[in-house]
């Protein structure tokens, strides 16, 4: 079983897919609701204090906005823990999304730099692409199993 970072980290579908195929998803595990009544689309489930942006200094310099550093305080440790990653680009908001594009850039860069196996997929636009999407995820995750066995 591999620890797989999912992007968007809030995607329940991705989280479910990874878990179904026997791996541990690393994500925000926060459902995107039909209506948004919180501050942001990916409002944190945790009580974030001004300490988090300071902890985020491990991942981003002080001149980086506090919101990015606060997010990195949450996602940074998950990135360090990750043994693989699935990145879905151009995702629909309802699929799961991240609130801050600057944090996204840093997360994706960190993942690509880490050298772990990464599957990058474009968000499917129709049913046929959807089937191919799931198949690609399954193949990638099955490959991780074999890597683990070897």
């Amino acid at each position: 079983m591999a620890k797989v970072f999912i992007y968007p980290a809030t995607s329940l579908i991705l989280s479910d897919l990874v878990a179904r195929f026997g791996h541990k998803p690393l994500g925000a595990a926060l459902g995107i609701r039909e209506r948004i009544q919180t501050a942001g689309v990916d409002s944190p489930p945790l009580q974030i204090t001004p300490e988090e942006p300071k902890r985020g200094l491990k991942y981003a310099a002080v001149e980086v906005p506090s919101g990015v550093r606060g997010r990195m305080a949450i996602y940074g440790p998950l990135l360090e823990e990750a043994e693989a990653a699935i990145i879905v680009t151009d995702a629909d908001l309802a699929f799961g999304c991240m609130g801050c594009a600057r944090t996204d850039e840093l997360i994706l860069f960190s993942l690509r730099q880490s050298g772990i196996p990464i599957l990058e997929l474009k968000y499917p636009e129709n049913e046929e692409e959807g089937v191919q999407f799931v198949a690609a995820v399954r193949k990638f995750l099955a490959g991780l199993e074999k890597e683990g066995e070897a």
Partner: protein, 412 residues
């Protein structure tokens, strides 16, 4: 008990910056509640397309959709607070454009702020108070004439000012440097009453403003205790004889600066900056001290100099002073240095604050620094307009307070 003022929050990053609690606290302390306009996820992209600003961050898209919902009347609110992370360029663009959009298409008062993880409820308090005042006291702010005998006291960070007004005329003024807050207020009040030839019992209503407003308000038994954003706006348009229509009020204070876009005497959008002293009246005080002149002599001295002869452009008071000392050591004239200091302060305010509001003429400069003519000249050069400095501009807060306090005279 009056209904809580409902402030719609449009923001990106406050929760992850750990400051959402501070925003709630600041609103709570002025009997307001902050809420997030409830919109459907499906409406977000549609609203962003209609707005026409193609941003990448989903939370900024959400801000735009929520702002549009407010303007379209789909969500009810009394005021709007826009907040994004300090130093985020994408967010700064959205913050400014959204603020302008709401200001132009609705009557909702808006304040925008860029926060860091160090932002506290105290920093936000005056802004929240101004938002609630505009929402709650529109009728009071509509007052254009002072009646009866009233007094206004402005307990500022550098000086305390008092004004006595009678039948729409200023009949007494007094000021003292703020040392012990209550003592300074008592001294300024005594001077104003003496000049007016009146006793404390003759005063029918009292208003207080400025940093010490709560303390001196309680001490004087004030009828109105009001933050300086709304009070100064009111005082400025009253003294400038421009109570109707649009105007811009600039107050460069001892500790922070206010830039307010005013319509019919009521603030629409405003910014308040108080982080860097190089952009405040305090820097001019230091400059005067270093040049060996009284602050009152700094303006005329600056008018004789050429600011561009001396490189000085820092929002930090320490670096600004360094430039000043270096310039004098290199043989620059005192006149040139004085002019450069005035230009530097004006430039910081122009770059950091005036970009966040819509400048509409007339531009009215108020507060003690408006008496420094070199500073007024420099601001006029930067804005390419003639700046209006009304009589008694240094007493602006006290005049605004006295004017508004007359709404509390019994029988009014």
């Amino acid at each position: 008990m009056s209904r809580k003022v409902r402030i719609a929050q449009l923001s990106c990053g406050p929760e992850y910056s750990g400051v959402q609690k501070e925003i709630y606290e600041a609103a709570e302390s002025v009997d307001a509640e902050v809420f997030f306009p409830d919109i459907a996820l499906a409406d977000v992209e549609r609203a962003v397309d209609a707005f026409g600003l193609d941003v990448r961050s989903a939370d900024l898209k959400l801000m735009i959709a929520r702002g549009k919902a407010l303007v379209d009347g789909k969500v009810d609110a009394d005021a709007v607070f826009i907040g994004t992370c300090f130093r985020c360029a994408e967010a700064a663009i959205v913050r400014n454009e959204l603020r302008r959009y709401i200001h132009e298409h609705s009557r909702l008062p808006v304040v925008s702020y860029s926060f860091t993880e160090r932002t506290t409820a105290g920093t936000l308090l005056t802004r929240m108070e101004a938002l609630t005042t505009i929402a709650r006291r529109r009728a009071l702010l509509a007052r254009e004439e002072q009646t009866g005998i009233t007094m206004g006291v402005d307990s500022g960070s550098s000086t305390t000012k008092a004004v006595v007004m009678k039948d729409n005329e200023i009949v007494g003024t007094g000021w003292l440097p703020t040392t012990e807050v209550i003592k300074s207020a008592e001294g300024a009040v005594a001077s104003a009453l003496e000049m007016a030839g009146l006793a404390r019992e003759d005063i029918q209503a009292v208003g207080t403003t400025g940093y010490g407003r709560f303390l001196i308000g309680r001490h004087l038994g004030a009828d109105l205790i009001q933050e300086e954003l709304t009070v100064n706006s009111k005082g400025a348009v009253y003294l400038a004889g421009h109570q109707r229509g649009a105007s811009t009020v600039i107050d460069i204070g001892g500790m922070d600066n206010k830039a307010i876009s005013v319509l019919d005497g009521i603030p629409g959008t405003f910014t308040m900056g108080g982080i860097c002293a190089g952009a405040s009246g305090r820097f001019l005080e230091m400059t005067a001290k270093r040049l060996g002149v009284e602050i009152t002599e700094l303006g005329p001295l600056a008018m004789k100099g050429m600011g561009k002869n001396v490189p000085m452009n820092s929002y930090c008071i320490v670096f600004g002073t360094q430039s000043l000392v270096n310039a004098l050591a290199a043989g620059s004239s005192r006149e040139d240095v004085a002019a450069a200091a005035c230009h530097s302060v004006a430039e910081q305010v122009f770059e950091q604050q005036l970009q966040e509001i819509d400048i509409k003429e007339p531009v009215i400069m108020v507060g003690g620094t408006s008496l420094i003519e070199g500073l007024v000249y420099a601001m006029g050069q930067l804005l390419q307009t003639e700046i209006l400095v009304p009589p008694h501009s240094q007493y602006i807060g006290a005049v605004g307070s006295a004017l508004l306090a007359s709404g509390f005279i019994k029988g009014e």
